[in-house]
């Protein structure tokens, strides 16, 4: 199973999410009331490490372990980044989760979040259904 390695990275990632209490609904409220530096520190240091890593990967023209040249797609701008971004932000503060933490919240025992995940899937589906009618 070639995909098992991604599950292993996911497990490590899920442990970090829970142990740093990033999946905590309380952390998200702290962040959006500017009561704590914690989440800004997490996101800021993650971006610094990510940026440095991608810089090195590009500079050294690194390849994957299978010898494939590493390439990242560019993100395209459209108005949906703003409209969709705001809608996601509304949901983020209410649920205390972005898509990744939803899975870790369920794993950590909050089974009610299964409902949130199903509803998020429904939201993605409805976006797909309405895609060509929405401003982009």
């Amino acid at each position: 199973m070639k995909d098992i390695k991604y599950a292993i990275v996911g497990i490590m990632f899920g442990i970090v999410f829970v142990k740093a209490e990033i999946i905590s609904w309380f952390r998200i409220q702290e962040m959006f009331h500017l009561h704590s530096f914690f989440m800004y520190g997490v996101i800021g240091s993650a971006v610094m490490v990510g940026m440095l890593s991608i810089f090195i990967i590009k500079k050294l023209k690194m390849k994957t372990i299978d010898g494939v040249p590493i390439a990242l797609e560019d993100k395209k701008y459209h108005k949906g980044l703003i409209f969709g971004g705001l809608i996601f932000g509304f949901g983020w503060a209410i649920t205390g989760a972005c898509p990744g933490p939803l899975y870790a919240q369920i794993g950590s025992g909050f089974t009610i979040v299964i409902v949130t995940l199903l509803s998020a899937t429904a939201g993605t589906w409805v976006y797909g259904k309405l895609q060509d009618k929405l401003p982009h």
């Binding site: 991604y6 009331h33 914690f38 520190g41 971004g85 589906w125």
Partner: protein, 190 residues
Amino acid sequence: MNILEFIKQPWPWYVAGPLIGLTVPTLLIIGNKAFGLSSSLRHICASCVPADIPLFNYDWKKESWNLFFVAGITIGGFLAATFLDNPNPVEVAPATATLLNSYGITDFNDLLPAQVFNWENLFTMRGLIFFVIGGFMIGFGTRYANGCTSGHSITGLSNLQWPSLVATIAFMVGGFISANFFVPLIFKLF
């Protein structure tokens, strides 16, 4: 203090942030995969109910790594909560705790307030908003924005993509509006 007790404490941001940042090169090096988690919702739609919608008609099996990744996150959440559980209440800034007390939230024992996130609340207005509507906005908004905190705010910003900066600012503005106006209103009304 032994190692296990040390690990069981809440991890500081300067440990968690760099570990999350390292996910970006790890996924690139092990398989040329761009770190992003909202895609998993799209793959679930594509595999279960594609319904002739162009967004969901692609070979999702080629993207199955992403579903293994989120399955791993779920297992990781279980392992951390089961074997590395912090016996103390979660960390909450005093100002946030005072504010939440005014909403009626007094239980800070778990990562989510048990007074809101429980099955008994499912068929109440509060449950409808926190689980159903909140979840819907996550799924709809992230796909409309073509990414979430991981795809835009971490991978996109790390790759110096200005559209990701626009998306990240929109996420934050939405979050500030929601936490400061919507969340207090929900607790007041329901």
